[in-house]
């Protein structure tokens, strides 16, 4: 019979407090791992999502707003730019591809974006990956009222090829703002795990000339997605100078990853608050281990005395209490992984619904090693005070009665 068995019996004997305490550790560990992992994975993913483009050209305004609107289909458009601006940048010798987009309508909350077929036929949204259609679908005819629906929208709205719908004006769904035009779904995108899955794509002219839109919009676009030539190392810098420093009418958001990183810098305080809360929960969980073992010391005294009378050394008793405290933490961390997966999955599903970006709860993060290690060490530290009390237990006094 080893010290581990003695620990196991003690945990079993105090099963209720063991489980309750382990659950508090599980909550702390799960929170800590999920907050950290979601933060790191979303930062890495969002700064890597660029839909295959290097920059966004849009109306004068915030670069971040421009990127969020054009790449992530979030936020409103900062304004429009002239068709001639699109043609100018398209002709720039350093530009490999320029794709115009127009926004301003939705279908029951899902954004409708007007664009050209170049977005699907010429763009690699990730290295080696082009948008593709699910079987039985076609790309839209730019001259007809046809739509290609992102996979997520199609599943949520139960849209399939052949279905028709009326767009609604604005980016926020309002039943009263229905346009009279009818669009036919001609294709459903294969899942790309990018923001494109959250969008209904229609021909650019469809948005430009939608009934009720300002006639001026017919010659405008909301933004231009720009891919620079690979060998034009200075092109981005030069265009940044040209549009942002020398000009005052347009904004050239480049490079996209840096702009998104700035977003995470801005919301960094929120991460720190969440991390702080997790650390506090971890400390409270450790304190609960201390309290649960310490409170049971009175009833344990007799058993400790019996073990000592049978020949157990003080250090054996001390160590068994430390192992017991660490074991409660370890048990908590096992449950903590389930808490982590649950929290991460809920957060990932919200992020996917809002942005189309997919986060993977099973993707390894170093926090999955050091959070359990930290909590187990904290648990063991929490066991020190009761272990000292156990170490000092007076054997003779606790083997009563005497004769």
């Amino acid at each position: 019979m080893t010290i581990w068995f003695i620990v196991f019996k003690s945990l079993k004997q105090h099963a209720f407090s063991t489980i309750v305490t382990a659950l508090s550790v599980a909550l702390a560990g799960g929170l800590l791992m999920s907050v950290w992992s979601i933060k790191e994975q979303s930062e890495a993913t969002f700064t890597n999502v660029n839909a295959g483009f290097d920059a966004v050209l849009g109306a004068r305004g915030s670069k971040l707003q421009l990127v969020l609107n054009a790449i992530f289909n979030l936020e409103s458009s900062p304004g429009n730019l002239e068709w001639s601006d699109f043609l100018d940048i398209q002709k720039n010798p350093d530009v490999e591809l320029a794709v115009p987009i127009a926004v301003g309508d939705n279908y029951r909350g899902y954004r409708i974006v007007g664009t050209t077929l170049d977005l699907f036929e010429e763009t690699e949204y990730a290295p080696g990956k082009k948008f593709a259609l699910q079987p039985g679908g076609n790309w839209f005819d730019p001259l007809r009222r046809e739509a290609v629906v992102g996979d997520f929208v199609a599943r949520k709205m139960k849209l399939k090829v052949g279905d028709t719908f009326h767009p609604f004006h604005g980016l926020i769904f309002d039943e009263k703002n229905q346009h009279s035009e009818t669009y036919v779904v001609v294709g459903i995108l294969k899942p790309s795990n990018t923001p494109a899955d959250q969008v209904i794509w229609i021909p650019l002219e469809g948005i430009q000339k939608m009934s009720g839109h300002d006639p001026k919009m017919a010659t405008e676009v909301s933004a231009v997605l720009v891919k620079l030539k690979a060998d034009s190392a200075l092109a981005g810098f030069q265009m940044d100078q040209m549009y942002n420093r020398q000009g005052n009418r347009l904004t050239f958001a480049w490079p996209i990853a840096t702009i998104m990183a700035e977003l995470f810098d801005k919301i960094g305080w929120f991460d720190r608050v969440l991390a702080m809360v997790s650390y506090l929960v971890a400390i409270v969980a450790s304190a609960s281990i201390l309290a649960s073992i310490y409170n049971s010391m009175n009833e344990r005294r007799r058993e400790i005395a019996i073990l000592r009378a049978l020949g157990a050394r003080r250090i054996t008793i001390f160590t068994s209490i430390l192992i017991e405290a660490a074991s409660i933490s370890a048990l908590g961390m096992l449950i903590g992984f389930a808490v982590y997966v649950a929290i991460f999955s809920i957060a990932a599903s919200i992020i996917r619904e809002q942005t189309g970006v997919v986060l993977d709860p099973l993707k390894f993060n170093a926090i999955m090693l050091w959070a359990p290690a930290m909590l187990i060490v904290l648990g063991a530290l929490a066991g020190i005070i009761p272990a000292i009390k156990a170490y000092r237990t007076d054997v003779a006094q606790n083997l009563a009665p005497t004769s």
């Binding site: 019979m1 020949g311 054996t316 004769s403």
Partner: protein, 229 residues
């Protein structure tokens, strides 16, 4: 050569009012190998304190205890723990069984702190069989009668093949029938295992069955009415 030899042993406790109270003041005592002796004395006379001193649970203020050739006063606490785990079996009046452990686990616990025992589980089952608890190996102590609990305590005390068994009022909590049975088992198993037995009691019925009886008051030169702290 005696198994247990005590000389000039003194143990004093401090009372809550700060005054000293000498509980054990024993000039000389010896117990030979395989000998069975009853130490007769009234409750509160310091018998338990003497057993705790012999077992190394308490440290004497003065004097020597030699067990199986080992002088206790020369031993550190861990060494005394080791000696207790390897050489001494202890049977308590209140049994002191581990309530969360099954019968077989309680017996195994008796082997846990000494040298490694081969086939420990089989040995534990054999001991349970010897005390008539072969059908209760998976039972918890609270599922046993008082007599059965005492027999389980006997099995545990013999688990480490002790040379010396200390029994502190082992029949004190039992009815006459169970007391007789337990006493018989304690004496027989000690004999079978070649262990010496030092049994302290005030029960005349028990005392009458021992050839070697020592009146504790005759060897303990201190006041006998007061209970040690």
């Amino acid at each position: 050569m005696p198994l247990l030899e005590i000389s000039k042993l003194v143990k004093t406790f401090i009372r809550p009012d700060g005054s000293e109270h000498t509980v054990v003041n024993l000039n000389s005592f010896r117990l030979d190998d395989k000998m069975q002796m009853a130490l007769k004395g009234e409750s509160g006379s310091g018998k338990t304190t003497l057993l705790h001193l012999i077992a190394g649970i308490l440290k004497p203020d003065a004097g020597n205890i030699v067990i199986a050739g080992q002088k206790m006063s020369f031993l550190s606490e861990p060494q005394r723990d080791r000696l207790r785990a390897t050489t001494i079996g202890y049977i308590f009046q209140t049994f002191n069984l581990m309530q969360g452990y099954t019968c077989v686990e309680n017996v195994l616990l008796g082997m846990s702190f000494g040298p490694k025992v081969d086939h420990a589980f089989a040995k534990a089952l054999l001991l349970l069989k010897r005390v008539g608890l072969e059908n209760h190996s998976a039972h918890l102590p609270r599922q046993l009668s008082t007599g059965q609990q005492q027999r389980l305590a006997v099995a545990r005390a013999l688990a480490n093949d002790p040379k010396l068994v200390l029994a502190d009022e082992p029949t004190g909590n039992l009815d006459q029938k169970n007391a007789q049975r337990s006493l018989a088992i304690i004496r027989e198993t000690c004999r079978e295992n070649g262990a010496a037995l030092l049994l302290v009691t005030h029960d005349r019925e028990v005392i009458s069955q021992f050839e070697n009886v020592q009146e504790f008051a005759d060897i303990n030169q201190t006041s006998q009415e007061e209970t040690p702290p």
